[in-house]
C-alpha cells in the first residue's frame, strides 16, 4: 500500500522533471491520483509510461500555450497546443464553468489535446458551483461500429455529475463500450478468456480472446451485438466523437492519435490532436438550486433503497462505488501492482528522480 501523499509527490516530481510547470505537474498528479483513489486504476499510474512515451516522441508539449480559438459568452473552442490532456482538460472545464456562471450554461469543445485521464474529474469540478457538469473525450480508435470490421471510434467515455443536498453527488462516468481496454489487457496478462460480447476478431466474428485488438480485432460498442442494441452504443460513441472533434477541429474517428504502439498514427492535415467536450449548467438557471438538490436526495434514496436482486447486497447509485473506494483508500492507502511499480521506477531512474 502506498499513501496518497507519497504517490502524489512522486507523480508531481516526475512531471516537473520533464518540464511541466509547478501548477501543471500538480494538476497531472491530482487527476491521476483521483483515478487511483476512486478505484479506476486503468486511468491512474498505469498511464504514466504512455504519457512519457508520447513526450519522448515529441507528441506532448510540456510548455503549452492553451488558447481560445473562438468564443461567445456561453461557448468556446480551445486549442490545447499539444498539452497533456489533464492540463487542457482542466483549463477547458474552468472556462465552461466561468461561462456558465455568467450565462447560465457554458460549453467548450477542445482540440489539439491528449489523453485526459478520467472524464469524471472534469464533470465533478462543476459540483461545488451548484452546476451540472458534463465531460467527454474521444480516444484511440479501438472500436468497430455495428456491422463494420474497421476500427473507427474510441471507447469515448461520458461523465455527468449532478449535485445533491445531504446525499453525495450523482456521478456517472462510463465508456460507451461494454469494457475498457485496460481490463482486456489485464485478462490477457492473467491468461484468462474474455466473455463473449466484448470484442470481435479482424473479420468481425465474435471472439473471446482479450488480446484480439492487437491482432486487428476490435472492441464492440455498448450493447455488444445488433440484436442487443450495439447500434445504440455506436450512436453514443459517435456523438462523443463529433462533439469533441468535429465541433473543435480535433482528429476524429480513425485519425485520433493512438497512445499505444500497435496502432499506427494516421496523418490528417485538416485536424489536430485528441478532442474533448465540456459542459456546465447552473442549476438556478432552471430552478432554485436548493429545490433541485433536495429532489436529487429523494431521487438518490429512491434508487439506493430499491429492492436488490437476491444475492446482491444493494442497488448502487452512479458514483457510489468510486466514493466508497475513495474513503477506504484515503485511510488505508492505494495498492499498486508490483509490475507497475517496476515500470514507473525505471522511468524514475531514467529521469534521475527518487524511485517509489
Amino acid at each position: 500500500m502506498y499513501s496518497y501523499q507519497l504517490l502524489y509527490a512522486f507523480v508531481k516530481k516526475l512531471f516537473l522533471r520533464i518540464g511541466c510547470s509547478e501548477d501543471d505537474a500538480c494538476i497531472v498528479a491530482d487527476v491521476l491520483l483521483s483515478a487511483e483513489l476512486r478505484g479506476i486504476e486503468s486511468h491512474g499510474l498505469l498511464r504514466i509510461p504512455d504519457y512519457i512515451n508520447l513526450w519522448k516522441n515529441n507528441r506532448i508539449n510540456v510548455k503549452p500555450n492553451i488558447t481560445i480559438v473562438h468564443e461567445t459568452p456561453g461557448t468556446a473552442v480551445i486549442d490545447g497546443d499539444s498539452a497533456l490532456g489533464m492540463i487542457a482538460g482542466k483549463k477547458s472545464m474552468e472556462i465552461a464553468i466561468k461561462k456558465a456562471s455568467q450565462c447560465g450554461t457554458g460549453w467548450v469543445s477542445t482540440r489539439n489535446s491528449n489523453h485526459f485521464g478520467i472524464a469524471g474529474y472534469y464533470a465533478m469540478m462543476a459540483l461545488e458551483h451548484d452546476m451540472i457538469g458534463i465531460s467527454m473525450t474521444n480516444a484511440n480508435p479501438f472500436v468497430a461500429p455495428t456491422f463494420s470490421v474497421d476500427r473507427l471510434l474510441g471507447t469515448n467515455p461520458i461523465a455527468v455529475a449532478f449535485p445533491a443536498d445531504k446525499q453525495p453527488a450523482f456521478v456517472a462516468d462510463f465508456a460507451t463500450t461494454p469494457i475498457a481496454r485496460g481490463k482486456l489487457d489485464l485478462m490477457h496478462k492473467k491468461g484468462i478468456k474474455a466473455p463473449y460480447g466484448y470484442v470481435q476478431d479482424k473479420a468481425g466474428n465474435p471472439s473471446n480472446d482479450p488480446n484480439i485488438i492487437t491482432q486487428g480485432g476490435a472492441i464492440v460498442p455498448l450493447g455488444g451485438d445488433y440484436e442487443h442494441g450495439s447500434h445504440k452504443g455506436y450512436c453514443l460513441g459517435s456523438i462523443v466523437d463529433i462533439l469533441s472533434a468535429v465541433l473543435s477541429g480535433a482528429c476524429y474517428g480513425p485519425w485520433v492519435p493512438p497512445i499505444v504502439a500497435y496502432l499506427p498514427v494516421k496523418e490528417n492535415p485538416d485536424v489536430k490532436g485528441t478532442g474533448h467536450f465540456f459542459g456546465a449548467m447552473r442549476i438556478d438557471a432552471f430552478r432554485p438550486a436548493e429545490e433541485f438538490k433536495k429532489m436529487m436526495d429523494k431521487w438518490i434514496l429512491t434508487f439506493r433503497n430499491s429492492k436488490p436482486i437476491e444475492g446482491q447486497e444493494k442497488v448502487l447509485v452512479p458514483g457510489d462505488p468510486e466514493r466508497e473506494m475513495e474513503a477506504v483508500r484515503k485511510k488505508e492507502g492505494i495498492p499498486v501492482m508490483p509490475l507497475l511499480i517496476e515500470k514507473v521506477n525505471e522511468i524514475a531512474a531514467e529521469l534521475g528522480i527518487k524511485k517509489l
Copy 2:
C-alpha cells in the same frame, strides 16, 4: 398501404374532434406520421388508443396553457399544462432554438407533459437552423436498474441531430435499453420468445418471456447485464430522467405516469407529469457552420464507406435506415397492421368521424 396524406388527415381530424386546436391537431399528426414514415411504427398510429385513453381519463388537456415557469436568456423551465407531449415538446424545442439563436445555445427542461412520440422529431427541428439538436424524455417505469428488481426508469430515449453539408444529417434516436416495449409486445403477439438480455422476471432472473413485464418483470438497461455494462445503460437512463424531471419538477423514476393500464399511477404531490429535456447549439457559436458541415460530410463518408462484416451489405450512419425508409414510404405508402386499423376505426366510430 395508406398514403401519408390520408393518414395525416385522419389523425388530424381525430385530434380536432377531441378538442385540439387546428394547429395542435396538425402537430400531433405531423409527429405521429413522421414516426410512420421513418419506420418507427411503435411511436406512430399505434399510440393513438393510449392517447385517447389518457384523454378519457382526464389526463390530457386539449386546451393547454403552456407557460414558461422560469427563464434566463439561454435556459427555461416549461410547464406543459398536461398537454399532449407533441404540443409541449414542439413548443419547448422552439423555445430552445430561439434561445440558441440569441445566445449560442438554448436549454429547456419541461414538466407536466405527456408521451411525446419520437424523440428524433424535436432534435431534427434544429437542423435547418444550422444547430445541433438534442432531445430526451422520461417514460413509463418499465426498467430495473442494475442489481434491482424494482422498476424505476423508462426506456428514456436520447436523440441527437448534427447537420451536414451534401450528406444527409446524422440523426441518432435510441432508447437507453436493448429493446423498446413495443417490440416486446409484438413478439408476445406472434408467440415467439425474446432473446435473453432484454428482460428479467419479477425476482430479477434473466427471462426470455416477452410478456414478463405485465407480470412484475422488467426491461434491463442497455448492456443487458452487469458483466456487459448494464450499469452504463442505467447511468444513461438516469441522466435522461434527472435532466427531464428533477431539473423541471416533473415526475421522476417510478412516479412517471404510465400510459399502460397494467402499471399503477403512483401519486406524488411534489411533481407533475412526464418530463422532457431539449437542447439547441448554434454551430457557429463554435466554428463556422460551413466548416463543420463539410467535416461532418467527411465523418459520415468515413463511417459509411468502412468495410462491412461479411454478410452485411454496408455500415450504417445513424439516421440512414430511417431516411431510406422515409423515401420508400413517401413513394409507396405506409403499411398499417389490420388489427391497428380496426382499433383506430373503433375510436373513429366512437368519436363520430369517418373511418380509415
